[in-house]
Amino acid sequence: MSLLETLRSGLEAILGHRLRSALTVLGILIGIAAVILTVGLGEGATSSVNSSIASLGTNLLIVTPGSSSSNGVQGGFGSDTTLTYANAKDLASRIDCPDVDAVAPTSITSANVTAGTKNWTTLVVGTTASWPNVRSRTLAVGTFFSATQVKNQDNVAVLGATTAEKLGLGSNALGETIDIDNVPLTVIGVLAPQGSLGGTNEDDMVLLPITLAQSQILGSDSVQIIFLKADSQGTLGAAYTEATDELLSLHQISTPSKADFTITSQSSIEATATSVDSALTLLLAGIAAISLLVGGIGVMNIMLVSVTERRREIGLRKALGATPSAIRRQFLVEASVLGLAGGVLGSGFGALVATVLPHFVSTTIAIEWWAVAGSIGVALAIGLSFGVYPATRAARLTPMEALRSE
């Protein structure tokens, strides 16, 4: 009996029990759709986290005040004042830290900004001329302030795209005057939009020379974050060591474990984000795998019922000349077709949900072709492997035993 004929008999049998077949397929379908969506969600989350982290710049080191492990208690963000603008200048020294390319200290506060009749509360960031280079940011219009302007404490400001819009300074912001705590500032540039990273909107901020910010607005010379840019990804490790040693000696700390600052790298943030992410993905994948297993058991159950219920048919087919292997093949084909149908429909359903869901929930679902192909393959394999036992039982029935049953 040819494979084509076996397939035809299998399909006839499946279509002959429509409801039962549909329910079996549904079991596999749900499992496969769950797998597709799990993988898609995981991939979507990973890629969005990775792209936002990568936007930080791959050569970036982030120095924050306070030790992450000091007495097991970590102060709130910016509560420590151990880092200063002077520290940042020392880190920028090529003699002390040869692998550090550029340094951008940031003094940050939240303040009300006014422009004409409009006002907007936003992040006010005092920094140096290297900030765009260190943070890999570009300007939509105008220029960033220069080192000279920083040194001279010029009253200039660069706006984030959102801030400019909120202050009603859309496209012609250049040359306009804004006001922070009665300090007038001339807008000399607007940043190109970036998006948000970890809850911080990178487009809503006002940047001004750190010297001006510290003397006129903050009244303190402490900085909250120093961004360091290494020459390349390869020298990131060296830059990390140099920066640590330099800060330890500047702060006169001999034991590295008692450091009053923390240096993290973009890759360590990425690793944390990815590991949280992969743990979640693993959990979801586990649930999906269990649902697939249940689907497979469903196939086996239905096939066993089918074998019992179709004893007469099996007996008749044998009486008419079906060999045991022909019967086994027929049931294997039936189980595989059920599995395959579940796989194809489940992938389709998963893809449909992946297309529709982002319109209602803010999430990214990346449907990967390998996940689809793999799922269909797995569904087929599940149908086949859970069909082996029922098919063997069917093949072993002796014709008269099968014919005799009522």
Binding site: S9, E12, L316, A322, T398
Partner: protein, 268 residues
């Protein structure tokens, strides 16, 4: 191909059968000039063993059926006629004894070989019709040809020809539940004929039919006989058995009598 173990058919007392000296080897041609035997049963025993209970269903049956004969096997329930039918149909193995079907010893064949013998040599008609409900009459009739590996166009052609012989060609696309009992049994007869079998085995073919349909089906079997086919009819009903040319009476696993009916010529 995996060989399936033969379950419950080989009792511990099973002996392999060989032709004893002095006996005619039925595999060789019989007396020249005589009709060639289609069925040759030599001392067939069948014992069913369930736990400690064992039942001797057949206790030494020897029977020869020649080509073109129409034989009825009759007996009350428990007489062993169903067992005999299963052995004749190669659906079961004898516990001991030899069975030559068209000169070939089939008593030692494995499942796959027997499947092939059933496919090519035997056409079954069952009491329950045993048509597959999901398939059209034509597809049902085609089934033996599917297992014989006949290609699709040829199958259809032969199935329709076979349906024409039972006068149901206009019902070829109907499913069994759209046919009357008599029509279903005629489809089953068409299926039994489609592979041009050496032997047609009808097991209580009229048991589930009303009298007019029963007469119809019996008439069909007589017609097959007249066209030269070998037909074996298993029944418990003496009147039905009298349709045949020869009646073999079974009782308690033994042949009680073997006589020609008024329809058949004298049997020597």
């Amino acid at each position: 191909m995996a060989r399936v173990p033969l379950e419950s058919t080989q009792t511990p007392g099973f002996e392999s059968v060989s032709v004893k000296p002095g006996e005619r080897n039925p595999a060789e041609p019989a007396q020249p000039g005589a009709a060639s035997p289609i069925v040759e049963l030599v001392d067939i025993h069948k014992r069913y063993q369930t736990g400690v209970l064992s039942v001797d269903a057949l206790r030494g049956v020897s029977l020869r059926i020649d080509e073109g004969e129409f034989v009825a096997i009759i007996g009350p329930s428990g007489s062993g006629k169903s067992t005999l039918m299963h052995i004749l149909g190669c659906l079961d193995h004898p516990s001991s004894g030899s069975y030559y079907l068209a000169g070939v010893d089939v008593s030692d064949m494995d499942e796959a070989q027997l499947a092939d013998v059933r496919n090519r040599r035997i056409g079954f008609v069952f009491q329950q019709f045993n048509l597959l409900t999901g398939l059209t009459a034509c597809r049902n009739v085609e089934l033996p040809l599917v297992y014989a590996g006949v290609d699709r166009r040829m199958r259809k052609q032969r199935a329709l020809a076979s349906l024409a012989r039972v006068d149901l060609v206009n019902r070829s696309e109907h499913r069994p539940n759209e046919l009357s009992g008599g029509q279903q049994q005629r489809v089953a007869v068409a299926r039994a004929l489609v592979n041009e079998p050496t032997l047609v085995l009808a097991d209580e073919p009229t048991g589930n039919l009303d009298s007019s349909s029963a007469a119809d089906v019996l008439g069909l079997l007589c017609e097959l006989h007249r066209s030269g086919r070998t037909v074996v009819l298993i029944t418990h009903d003496a009147q039905t058995a009298n349709t045949a040319q020869r009646v073999v009476r079974l009782k308690d696993g033994l042949i009680q009598s073997d006589e020609a009916t008024s329809l058949g010529g004298p049997r020597t």
